[in-house]
């Protein structure tokens, strides 16, 4: 393994929806500026786990987490942590593109405005930078005031990535970000992930095995709330250690 710093680390994470034990004793460490893919059958807990990294599950009644999530070595579940501050450091992109029914520009600067930024020039600069990073700038630069809803699905998803990047997080969580997109848009998102990892630590949930293979450095396979295996993506796809991993990735599950 390389000498990169550990950016995110889960220690003995258990999570419950009421009585249901959704995540069971999970330990995993992710190095900074790498892409980690979460794979596993539907309902195994990938999204639940992903959302633990920015405390998105806090909203759910009856949800309970035990264990620690260390972001740059600090536990994000510690009492003194402000969730708002956390969200600035950990951005998230969802499965379905979900732009607000506002202009493209307003979508990108939304988070910054909430944070209290009001300087027009600074906002415009941040918007341009984020749209560049999301590889959308060239397609929208002449229509920044157009409604975001008029964009194609693939463009909307990149807009949502731009929105997440605008607040300058250092971690980007993506829950099946390309599952609703056509192959060309998917390829663009994947290309984008490759570029973004120079600056961001990325965690992506995907049901597309080839996508996991193409974009990630390490892959974690989850099964029924357990982390079965986490290793270099190359290893997982050529020579996984666990029979369950092999059965899953070769499509011979169950």
């Amino acid at each position: 393994m390389s000498k990169k710093q550990i950016k995110l680390e889960a220690r003995d994470i258990n999570a419950y929806y009421g009585d249901f034990h959704a995540l069971k004793g999970i330990n995993v460490a992710m190095e900074e500026k790498t892409v980690t893919a979460f794979i596993g059958p539907s309902g195994c807990g990938k999204s639940t786990f992903l959302r633990i990294f920015n405390r998105m599950n806090d909203y759910i009644d009856g949800f309970k987490t035990e264990g620690e999530i260390l972001l740059d070595g600090e536990n994000i579940y510690a009492k003194n942590v402000l969730v708002d501050e956390l969200r600035k450091r950990v951005g998230m992109v969802f499965q379905k593109p979900n732009p607000f029914p506002k202009s493209i520009y307003e979508n990108v600067v939304y988070g910054l405005k909430i944070q209290g930024m009001s300087n027009k020039a600074a906002l415009a600069e941040a918007a341009e930078k984020a749209l560049h990073q999301a590889a959308l700038w060239n397609e929208v630069k002449d229509n920044l005031n157009k409604s975001a809803l008029a964009l194609s699905g693939g463009q909307q998803q990149r807009l949502c990535i731009a929105r997440a990047l605008a607040i300058s997080p250092s971690v980007l969580l993506m829950d099946e970000p390309a599952s609703a997109l056509d192959p060309i848009s998917t390829a663009k998102i994947e290309e984008l992930i490759h570029q973004l990892k120079e600056q961001y630590t990325i965690v992506i949930v995907t049901h597309n095995m080839q996508q996991a293979g193409r974009v990630s450095d390490t892959t974690a396979f989850f099964y029924m709330g357990e982390l079965v295996e986490h290793a270099k993506t190359k290893t997982i796809f050529t020579n996984p250690k666990d029979k369950r991993t092999e059965d899953y990735i070769t499509g011979r599950f169950g």
Binding site: Q210, T238, E246, T250, G251
Partner: protein, 227 residues
Amino acid sequence: MNHLDKELLAIKDKVNEMWSLVEFQMLAGKDALLNGDEELLRKIIKRGKKVNAYDIKIDRMCENIFALYNPVAVDLRWLMAILKINANIERIGDSSEGIAQLIREANFPVDPELLETTRVLEMYDAAESMLADVQRAFYEENTELARDLIKRDKLLNKIHVKTDKVIIRYIQAHPDNINQSLKVSGIIRKLERIGDQITNIAEEIIFYVDAKVVKHKQKKKRGKDPQ
């Protein structure tokens, strides 16, 4: 059985058929060496063409699976192994064809003294049984047997190394039989190659079953568990 499994099974069947062709070439070669059966020699050479056609067909089948199924893990290793096993079976076929040519040029009957002192028949027997066993190792995914084959190849190498000396001595004693000496020496070289090709196949079997690469180890370490 899922769809990919069916495709893989179809490849396995093809490899099996190709293996039988090559096995025939080997067995018939030894017969022809002993009884000069020209008809057999013709058949060996004709089967060679068939073997080549199988080689191409199997490559195509693998290619399609790579393109359409994105095979991973054990499937990927298996296909990679099949590509190499296929290539090696094809080369064993080539070697057998070459031997048939040499037998023809040796002009039956070959002096029994030459056959005896060069140990060429012994080599033939060893290579034949190795070929049968490597096929078995493949079907049973038997890495122990595969490792054993890598060791057994040493006998072929040992006989081969001594060939030049033995042949020179034979020629000194029988200066009128240089032609047969050279042909038998050629046959031995090809049998030695066949031993290597079988060894390559055995290594591929170990690779896909255990995911361990045993190739390119130093000769003396061969056959031992790499761990």
